[in-house]
Amino acid sequence: MYVSKFEASMATNFVIYLAFGALLCLATAKGEIVNTNVERTLDLTSQLVKTTTKISAEDSAGKPIVEYVFFTSEPSLAYIAVKDSGDKSVPFKRNDPVKGEQSFTFTFPKAATKQTFVVETVASKGIRPHPEEIRQNDKQFVRYTGNLHLYSKYRTTSQKTNVKLSSSNILSHTQVKPFSVSSNKITLGPYDNAEAFSQEALVIHYENSAPFVTVNTLERTLEISHWGNIAVQESIQMTHTGAKLKGSFSRYDFQKEGRSGLAALKSYKTYLPASASGVYYRDTNGNISTSNMNSVRDFIELELRPRFPLFGGWKTQYTLGYNVPSYEYMFNDGNKYQLKMHLIDHIYDNMAIDEATIKIILPEGSSDIRLSTPYSISRLPNELVHTYLDTIGRPVVSFSKSNLVESHISDFTLYYSFSKTSMLQEPLLVSGFIYIIFLFTIIFLRLDFSITSHAHKE
C-alpha cells in the first residue's frame, strides 16, 4: 500500500515538472532563434573526437539573444569551451541531462540579435575499432558514429561539416549528397533547412593506426615542502583500447616487418615542466630502463617506452615522479600561501584519462585550506598522512575527476596558511633526539648499575 502511495506522489511530481518544463520551453521558444549558418569540423585523426562548431545564430523576431542552449549528442563528452567572435570565452552552465541528453546554456556577455560563436568539444570513446580484433600484422580500422546534422534545439538554415581523418584509406562513409572526398578529408554538405532536433547518422569507417591508449586511473600526488621543493608523483594504469590482438604475438614479425604492429604503442612522449629534476620512471619491479630525457627550451621531453609494446587489449602500469622547485608555483603573503599548479599534466598526445585522483600533501600544520579549480571536480574527504618526522600528520587535500583530456591541463589554486616557525619543528625534533641519546649514554657510562660490587678486572 505504502509503495503505491509513494509512486502516486512521484507521478504527480512528474506531471508538475513536465508542465513546468513545457512552460519553460514555450517561454524560450517564443524567441525563435535560428542557426543561420553552422560550420562543423570533426577531427578524427586520433582516438578523440574533436569538434569545432562555428554557429551563427539569429533571432527571427529581432530580439537580442542572451542565452543559447547547446545540445550535444556525444555520449562521453570530456571537454567543452565556447568563444565568441572576439575570441573571448563565453560563460556557460551545464543543464541537468534530460533523457541522457546533455545540454549547456551559454550566456552571452553582450546581447545582440546576431551572435556568432565557436564551440569546441572533445569527446573520448566516440571512435570504436571495427573489427574489434585484429592480427598482429593487420591494420587497425575504426568506425566513427555521429550525427550528420548539428543536433540543435533550433532550426538550422545552412550547415556544412568538414571531417579530417587520419588516412585516406576510407572503407565507407555516409553518403548524403552533396559531399566530396579528397584524400583524408570528407566534406559533407551544405545541407539546408534542418529542423530542430533532427537526427541522421553519420558513420565513417576508416583506417586509423594511431594507438588508442586510455589511462584508466591516474593518481597524481603533489607533496609540498616549505624547504623549497615540490615532489610530483603520478601512478598511471593504461590500456590499449584499440582493436584487440587476435592470435599470437610474434617477436620475429615485430622486429622484421615494418607493417607489423602499426597500432601498437611502442613509445610516447611526456612533457614535464622545464625545472623538473630527479625524474624517475618505475613500476613494482623497479626502474624501467627504457626512457630518454631531452631538455627542450621551456619544457622537458621525456620519451617513455613501456617495458613491452602495448598491443590492443594489453595493459601496463607505472609510476613517474619528479621534483620541481617550489618558488615557481608557490606564492605567499605573510603566513598566507597560494599554490598554483597544473591539476593534471601531459602524459601523451591526445590522451584520454578515465579517472584521475589528485592528492596534495601540505606541510604539517597547514590550516584554512581552500581549493579553487578551473572546472568542477568531486572533492574527496581530507586525510592525514604521516611521513618523515611527522607528529600530528600532514593534511591531504584530495579530489577526483573522470573523463579528462589534454584540454583539461590547467591550473588549480590552493590557498592555505602556514606559520614559518613550524618549519623549525623537525630539525628541533632531530637534535633533541640526538641530545637525549647522548645524555643517556653519559648517564649510563658514568653510573654503575651492577647489583653486586666486584673489583675492576684488568
Binding site: R251, Y252, T284, N287, F308, K315, L389, D390
Partner: protein, 774 residues
C-alpha cells in the same frame, strides 16, 4: 693486560677504546659501502632467485601480519599442491626486516619494505664484523680482533652472499653464527649461566634464520667432546653446555620448520650424545670424590659398559623404528661428494653445490688463505679451552668448504679470525718496542694499519705507512732484538700485502659479486656505451599485466621464485625443490615431444610456458644449456619414457645443430626455444638461425607449433612465453554446433536399379562343381 702506571693506563684505555670504536665504525662503513656496487650501477633491487622468495614472503608478512604469515598457505606455488610457507621457511630473515619496517613506521619513516630488504645484508655485515671482533678478542687479543673485523668487512667470501639486494638467510645468519660462537666462548670461559643462556638465545636467532644452524649444534658438542678427551673437563664446561643445550633445544623447537627435528633426526643426535656423556662424566667426577678408588673402578667399568651398550642399542632401535630419522640426503652429500650426483641430481644440478676449486679459495679469501694456517698454528701452540674451539671450527669449516662452494661462507669468518691472529702475531713481533713499553701501541699501530687498509685509497695508505715506518725506526734505535731495517721491511711488506688484499676485495666485489642477475649489463664494443638488458623484468611484467590473475605458468624451477615475486602468477615448481617428482614431471614435459607434453600440461592445467633462450644474445645460462639436468631429473622418476642417452648423438655429444639427436630436435624445450628462430638472421652475412650461445646453426629450423602459440617474446628473445591452447583451438577450425551438421539440401540418391542395396560389383559367379578363378 700489562702493568703500567695508573694514569697512563687510563689514558691508553681511553685511546684504545676510541680507536676500537673508530675502527669498528670504519669497518662497518667500508663493509656497507663496498656492498653497494649493484645499487649504484643498477638500482635498489632484489637479486637472483631465492631473495625474491624471501622478499615476497616478507612483503606478505608486512601486509598481513605475523600470524597470517605463519599460517600462510601459498596456493601460487607448486600448483596444484601448494606450499605451506609458514611451516617451511626459516622466518628469522622476515622477522628481522619486518621488525625494522615496523619500527621505522612507528617512527613515521615510510621506508618501503623493498629497500629494507635490499640493505639488510650490508647493514648486518657491520654487525658481523663487530661480533667477529668480539669473538677474536675472546680468543686472542683486541688487536687480532680488529684485524679480523676489518677482514670480514670486505672479504669477498662473505660479500658474495651479502651484497645489497642479496636478501638471503646467509646475510643475517653469519652474524648470528659469529655472535653465538662469541657468547659460547664467553660462557665456556666464565662458566656463567648468563652467558650460556645468551648463547642459547643467539642460537635461537640462528635457528630461525638459516638451516646452517646444524653446524653450530654439531660444532659446539664437538668442542665439548674434544675438551673432555683432552681432560679439560671443568664445572664451567658442565654449566655452560648443559644450559646452552637444554635452552637451545627448547628454543630451536619453537621454529615451526624445525619442529621436533632436534630430538628426532640424526644430525642433532651428536649434541644429545655429548650432553649425556658430559652428564656421565660429571657424575663420575662426583662419585670419584665420594667413593673409594676400588669401588669407583668397578662402578666405572660396569656402569660405563652398560651405559654405552644401552645408548647404542637405544639409538639403533629408535632409528629402526623410525623415531629417529636417518641422515638426510643433503647431509650425506657432505660426506660423499659423489653421492648427490648419483642419487639426488636436483642437488647436483645447482652450481653452488659443486666441490670447491683451489682457485675459488684464493679468489674469495686472497691473502687470508695463506695467513690462516699461521693463525691455526699460533692457536695450537698456545692452546687453551677456547682456542680448541677455534681450531675445531677451522678444521671442520675447511672440510665443508672443500665439499661445497656454498659452504665457503662458513669458512670465511674463521679464516678472517685466524688471519687476524696471524697478522697480529706478526706485528707483535715486528712492531715491538721496549719490552716494558705498553702493548697499547702495538694495538694502536695495528689498528692504524687496519684503518689505512680500510680506507682503500692508496694515498692515505702510503701516508700512514710512512708515518709508521718513521716511528718504528725512531723507537727501534734502542731495540736490541731485530734490526730496525728488517723491521721496516717486514712492516712494509705486510702493508703491501694488506693493500693488495683490499684492492683484490674491491675488484672481486665489483666484478664478480655485484650483478643482480635479473638485469644484465653489457658494454657495447663499438662505442663503449653501457647497455642494459632488462628482458627478465620485461617478461615478468608482461605476465603480471596481461595474463589472467590465476594463470599457471610452467617453467624450469630456477625461475619459479622470480615468476612468483615479479609476475605474481602461479608456478608449478620453484627453487624450493621440495618435491622431486613434481619437478621431474615438468622436466618430462619439457623433454617430451609436443603431443606428449601437451597431455602432461593439460593434466597440470598449464596456461603459459616460459623458457629462457639466450641464443640471440649469447647468454649462456639458458634453458637449453640446463636441459640435460631436466632430462636427468625426469629420467630419475620416469625411466621408461625419458632416457638421457636419446638426447646425445651417437658419438655422445650434446648438440643442437643438424647432427643433433632427433629426440632433442623434436622435444618441447627445443621447439619453444627455437620457434621461428630459424628465420632470424643475426648478421647480414651469417646464416639464419645461428645460435650464438652454442655457436651452431640450429638443426630443426622449419616447424610449427600445434598445441602452443607464442604469447610474448622479449626484446632480445631472452624470455619466451607461450600460451597453451585449449583443446578446441588447435588443428581443426572451431565450428559452432549449429554449423557442424551438413545441410541435406540437393541430395540426390545415386542408387538406381542397378546399384541396389548390398550389390557387389564383379562378384564372382559361383557355379557348382567348378572352381572359382583367382
Amino acid at each position: 693486560m700489562n702493568r703500567t702506571p695508573k694514569m697512563l693506563n687510563s689514558k691508553v684505555a681511553g685511546y684504545s677504546s676510541l680507536i676500537t670504536f673508530a675502527i669498528l665504525l670504519i669497518a662497518w662503513l667500508a663493509g656497507f659501502s663496498s656492498r653497494l656496487f649493484a645499487v649504484i650501477r643498477f638500482e635498489s633491487i632484489i637479486h637472483e632467485f631465492d631473495p625474491w622468495f624471501n622478499y615476497r614472503a616478507t612483503a606478505y608478512m608486512v601486509q598481513n601480519g605475523w600470524y597470517n604469515f605463519l599460517n600462510w598457505f601459498d596456493e601460487r606455488a607448486w600448483y596444484p599442491l601448494g606450499r605451506i610457507v609458514g611451516g617451511t621457511v626459516y622466518p628469522g630473515l622476515m622477522i628481522t626486516s619486518g621488525g625494522i619496517h615496523w619500527l621505522l613506521h612507528v617512527l613515521n619513516i615510510p621506508v618501503h619494505i623493498r629497500d629494507i630488504c635490499v640493505f639488510l645484508a650490508p647493514i648486518f655485515s657491520g654487525l658481523t664484523s663487530i661480533s667477529t671482533y668480539l669473538l677474536t678478542k675472546e680468543l686472542w687479543s683486541a688487536g687480532a680482533g680488529l684485524f679480523a673485523a676489518s677482514f670480514i668487512a670486505i672479504v669477498p667470501g662473505y660479500i658474495s652472499r651479502s651484497v645489497a639486494g642479496s636478501y638471503d638467510n646467509e646475510g643475517i645468519a653469519i652474524f648470528a653464527l659469529q655472535f653465538t660462537y662469541f657468547l659460547w666462548v664467553r660462557s665456556v670461559k666464565t662458566g656463567s649461566v648468563f652467558w650460556s643462556a645468551a648463547a642459547a638465545l643467539s642460537y635461537f636467532y640462528m635457528v630461525s634464520a638459516w638451516g646452517g644452524y646444524v653446524f653450530i649444534i654439531n660444532l659446539i658438542p664437538l668442542h665439548v667432546f674434544v675438551l673432555l678427551i683432552m681432560g679439560r673437563y671443568s664445572p664451567r664446561l658442565l654449566t655452560s653446555y648443559s644450559t646452552f643445550y637444554i635452552l637451545g633445544l627448547l628454543f630451536s623447537m619453537q621454529i615451526p620448520f624445525v619442529g621436533f627435528q632436534p630430538i628426532r633426526t640424526s644430525e642433532h643426535m651428536a649434541a644429545l650424545g655429548v650432553f649425556v656423556l658430559l652428564m656421565a662424566v660429571a657424575t663420575l667426577r662426583h662419585l670419584q670424590s665420594v667413593l673409594s678408588r676400588n669401588e669407583f673402578r668397578k662402578l666405572f667399568i660396569v656402569g660405563g659398559l652398560l651405559v654405552g651398550v644401552g645408548v647404542f642399542v637405544a639409538v639403533v632401535v629408535l632409528t629402526m623404528l623410525g623415531v629417529v630419522a636417518p641422515w638426510s640426503g643433503r647431509f650425506y652429500s657432505l660426506w660423499d661428494t659423489g653421492y648427490a650426483k648419483i642419487h639426488i641430481p636436483i642437488i647436483a644440478s645447482v652450481s653452488e653445490h659443486q666441490p670447491t676449486t683451489w682457485f675459488s679459495f684464493f679468489f674469495d679469501l686472497h691473502i687470508l688463505v695463506c695467513a690462516f694456517p699461521v693463525g691455526v698454528w699460533y692457536c695450537i701452540k698456545q692452546i687453551n679451552d677456547e682456542r680448541v674451539f677455534v681450531v675445531l671450527y677451522a678444521i671442520s669449516a675447511v672440510y665443508f668448504a672443500g665439499v661445497m662452494v656454498r659452504l665457503m661462507l662458513t669458512l670465511t669468518p674463521v679464516v678472517c679470525m685466524l688471519a687476524g691472529v696471524a697478522f697480529s702475531g706478526l706485528l707483535d713481533v715486528f712492531l715491538q718496542e721496549d719490552s716494558s713499553k705498553r702493548m697499547g701501541t702495538a694495538v694502536s699501530s695495528a689498528t692504524e694499519v687496519d684503518e689505512a687498509e680500510d680506507s682503500i685509497e692508496k694515498k692515505t695508505l702510503y701516508d700512514k705507512a710512512g708515518k709508521l715506518k718513521h716511528r718504528t725506526k725512531h723507537d727501534a734505535q734502542q731495540d736490541t732484538g731485530i734490526s730496525s731495517n728488517l723491521k721496516s721491511i717486514v712492516i712494509l711488506a705486510v702493508l703491501m700485502l694488506l693493500m693488495m688484499f683490499a684492492v683484490h676485495c674491491t675488484w672481486v666485489t665489483s666484478n664478480a659479486y655485484s650483478s643482480p642477475s635479473i638485469v644484465l649489463a653489457f658494454h657495447n664494443s663499438q662505442d663503449g656505451s653501457r647497455n642494459i638488458l632488462d628482458d627478465f623484468r620485461e617478461a615478468y611484467y608482461w605476465l603480471s599485466q596481461n595474463t589472467a590473475d590465476d594463470a599457471r605458468v610452467m617453467s624450469w624451477w630456477d625461475y619459479g621464485y622470480q615468476i612468483a615475486g615479479m609476475a605474481n602468477r602461479t608456478t608449478l615448481v620453484d627453487n624450493n625443490t621440495w618435491n622431486n617428482s613434481h619437478i621431474a614431471l615438468v622436466g618430462k614435459a619439457m623433454s617430451s615431444t609436443e603431443e606428449k607434453s601437451y597431455e602432461i600440461m593439460t593434466s597440470l592445467d598449464v596456461d603459459y610456458v616460459l623458457v629462457i633462450f639466450g641464443g640471440v644474445i649469447g647468454y649462456s645460462g639458458d634453458d637449453i644449456n640446463k636441459f640435460l639436468w631436466m632430462v636427468r631429473i625426469a629420467e630419475g622418476e620416469h625411466p621408461k619414457d625419458i632416457k638421457e642417452s636419446d638426447y646425445f648423438t651417437d658419438r655422445g655429444e650434446f648438440r643442437v645443430d643438424a647432427e643433433g639427436a632427433p629426440a632433442l630436435l623434436n622435444c618441447l624445450m627445443y621447439k619453444l626455444s627455437y620457434y621461428r628462430f630459424g628465420e632470424l638472421k643475426l648478421d647480414y652475412r651469417g646464416p639464419s638461425g645461428y645460435d650464438r650461445t652454442r655457436n651452431a646453426v640450429i638443426g630443426n629450423k622449419d616447424f610449427d607449433l600445434t598445441y602452443l602459440e607464442e604469447a610474448y617474446t622479449t626484446e632480445h628473445w631472452l624470455v619466451r612465453i607461450y600460451r597453451v591452447k585449449k583443446p578446441h583451438e588447435f588443428n581443426r577450425p572451431s565450428l559452432k554446433t549449429k554449423e557442424r551438421t551438413i545441410p541435406p539440401a540437393n541430395f540426390i540418391s545415386r542408387k538406381n536399379s542397378k546399384r541396389r542395396k548390398g550389390y557387389i560389383r564383379n562378384r564372382p559367379v559361383v557355379v557348382k562343381g567348378k572352381r572359382t578363378l583367382k
